[in-house]
């Protein structure tokens, strides 16, 4: 039985090994080598790529990345929860709203991010409209800053919060809401004392679904952010392209991955198994 199972699992294991493990091992090896003169790697071993990360310059980027990912996660939950609540109570229109949430996935994330640039830039829709209405005379600095990155990340990852929260809210026993009202709780109190506590595992799952990809975001900060909004994703990209320092890029990638794994392990150990 065991042998049979192993034989059936072999193709999957092979694919996993080839497509996941091999690249990881390559990255690990690269991260321990010196950079080559014209990109690539030379054959000397070193751990300097890791010690270099202690440089305040990179620590600030790491901190900024975590701060931005945290803020975007919070933003997604703050906007996503009411939206999920609204959809779960929309009755016959539920499916329509859900499709509207999913609709953006039908176009490229890159195109949608460019669309935000058209909205936010100095001659963009928002600034032009405000100018035309006479509210402002000089364009507001909407693009190329932290706020623009925040908006872009919240926009991009909102569906990842709305969909799991919607699923959680749908599963919520409606008689519990009636029981709460029956015992004298107004709708707001029911939300705080019954709905949110019962959605806590869904909220945590949704937050993780946003936080982790936000840590690795590079397109959004690249297009919407300025020079002061470099995130880890941009740093890595930069090492592989402009800087031609593959070993350092590999080291940063692995450190980011290690931090995410560590976080997941802590969360799982603290009883969040249902999240994964």
């Amino acid at each position: 039985m065991n042998g049979l199972r192993r034989r059936f699992l072999a193709p999957a294991a092979l694919v996993m090994g080839l497509l996941f493990l091999t690249p990881l091992v390559i990255i690990l090896v690269y991260s321990l080598l010196m950079r080559g003169t014209y990109g690539g790697v030379s054959s000397e071993w070193t751990i300097e790529n890791y010690t270099r990360l202690a440089d305040p310059l990179y620590l600030i980027i790491l901190l900024r990345t975590f701060g931005m990912a945290g803020a975007a996660t919070l933003g997604c939950v703050v906007f996503g929860f009411p939206l999920a609540l609204f959809i779960s109570r929309a009755g016959a229109r539920k499916n329509l709203y859900l499709q509207l949430v999913i609709l953006p996935f039908w176009t490229s994330f890159l195109v949608r991010t460019y669309a935000w640039m058209f909205l936010l830039r100095d001659t963009g829709l928002i600034n032009s409209a405000l100018k035309a209405l006479g509210i402002i005379h000089e364009p507001l600095p909407l693009l190329y800053n932290n706020a623009a990155v925040f908006v872009g990340l919240v926009y991009g990852y909102l569906p990842f919060v709305v969909l799991p929260l919607y699923a959680t809210l749908e599963r919520l026993d409606k008689t519990l809401l009636e029981a709460s009202a029956d015992l004298g709780a107004k709708p707001g109190e029911t939300l705080i004392r019954v709905v949110i506590p019962l959605c806590s595992s869904g909220l945590r799952a949704a937050a993780l679904l946003v936080f982790i990809p936000c840590l690795g975001a590079y397109l959004t900060p690249d297009l919407l952010g300025g020079s002061k909004t470099v995130m880890v994703g941009n740093l890595i990209q930069n090492q592989f392209t402009t800087a031609r320092d593959w070993p350092f890029g590999s080291a940063v990638s692995l450190v980011l991955m290690a931090i995410v794994m560590l976080m997941l392990m802590v969360i799982i150990r603290r009883g969040g198994k249902e999240l994964i």
Binding site: T175, A181, D182, L183, G184, E189
Partner: protein, 323 residues
């Protein structure tokens, strides 16, 4: 006695069907009132309109003489024990019971919680969560949670149906005792006529959205006003336009004498049920009748020619023949 709850010509229409159709009833303060009927008869919808979960399409709901149609569930001093109990799974027994009290900002929360948990015999289980409780315990938490608010009326939606049958009869007695001790008005919805008969001061029988009859258990059982009520409360033999309950039906080999309603019949079948016999008979005109007789009386064999009779006082005559 005064009326605490009154329904005046209350109707509820859902798209495509009338759930409750012109129901009027009065519930006396401190009484145990049962709404009895088959599933889909509108009894739960009626209860939900009293709780405020559903709005009446027409008619008025009055609590202490005040119209409460417009009040939200959280504005009405009535509480509900739900069929599935609807305990908050993330809260302990104590927190479930405190849920409504914390809102009211009453001073002696812990004393009132302790008192009510004692009342429902749940002392010592305060720190458990619902998942750690048995069905009977969950039901008592649901009762405690509602009773602690001292509602004008406690609404109970089939509260015994989720319990296993052995527990049900015991809980009936407990529930009745609890109602007597607290003096709180109970409005109890059930499809089980035995439950309604054994616990209630008054019963309202519902059928297809209409309230067919309201009365004491004896009135409902012995003097039903419609054919449906007669049949829903127990088995009936309809013979020549009058109804006779099987337990009122007698069988003898000899003629019972004058002053009785008597028919010649033939025994079709005799079924032993432990505490009694059900004897199936066929009349000369082909109609069937059942008599429930003591197993200590004569035994009857299929094909026996017998006299089937009853006392005229035991027969049920419907005031109007409601078919």
């Amino acid at each position: 006695m005064e009326t605490v709850l009154e329904l005046r010509n209350v109707s509820k229409t859902f798209p495509g069907h009338v759930a409750v159709d012109g129901v009027s009833l009065e519930v006396e303060r401190g009484s145990f009132f049962a709404l009895l009927g088959p599933s889909g008869c509108g009894k739960t919808t009626t209860l939900r309109m009293v709780a405020g979960f559903d709005d009446p399409t027409s008619g008025d709901v009055l609590l202490n003489g005040m119209r409460i149609n417009q009040l939200k569930p959280y504005e009405r001093n009535v509480t509900t024990v739900f069929q599935n109990y609807a305990l908050f799974p993330h809260l302990t027994v104590r927190a479930n019971v405190e849920f409504g009290l914390r809102r009211q900002r009453v001073a002696d929360v812990s004393k009132r919680v302790a008192d009510v948990l004692e009342l429902v015999q749940l002392g010592g289980k305060e720190d458990r969560v619902p998942a750690q409780l048995s069905g009977g315990e969950k039901q008592r938490v649901a009762l405690a949670r509602s009773l602690v608010l001292q509602p004008e009326v406690l609404l109970l939606d089939e509260p015994l149906s989720a319990l296993d049958p052995n527990l049900r009869k015991q809980v009936r007695t407990e529930l009745k005792g609890l109602q007597r001790r607290t003096g709180i008005t109970f409005l109890f919805v059930t499809h089980d006529q035995e439950e309604a008969l054994s616990m209630s001061d008054r019963i309202g029988v519902m059928h297809k959205g209409r309230l067919e009859q309201v009365g004491t258990p004896e009135e409902i059982y012995l003097r039903p006003k419609t054919r449906f009520v007669a049949g829903f409360l127990g088995a009936v033999n309809w013979i020549g336009g009058v109804g006779v309950r099987p337990e009122s039906m007698r069988i003898s080999r000899g003629h019972p004498g004058d002053g009785k309603r008597c028919f010649d019949a033939t025994v079709v079948d005799s079924m032993f049920l432990g505490n009694c016999l059900h004897v199936q008979m066929s009349l000369a005109n082909g109609e069937r009748a059942v008599a429930e007789v003591s197993r200590l009386e004569n035994t009857f064999q299929t094909g026996d020619a017998v006299h089937m009779w009853w006392h005229p006082g035991d027969e049920m005559r419907l005031p109007r023949e409601a078919q």
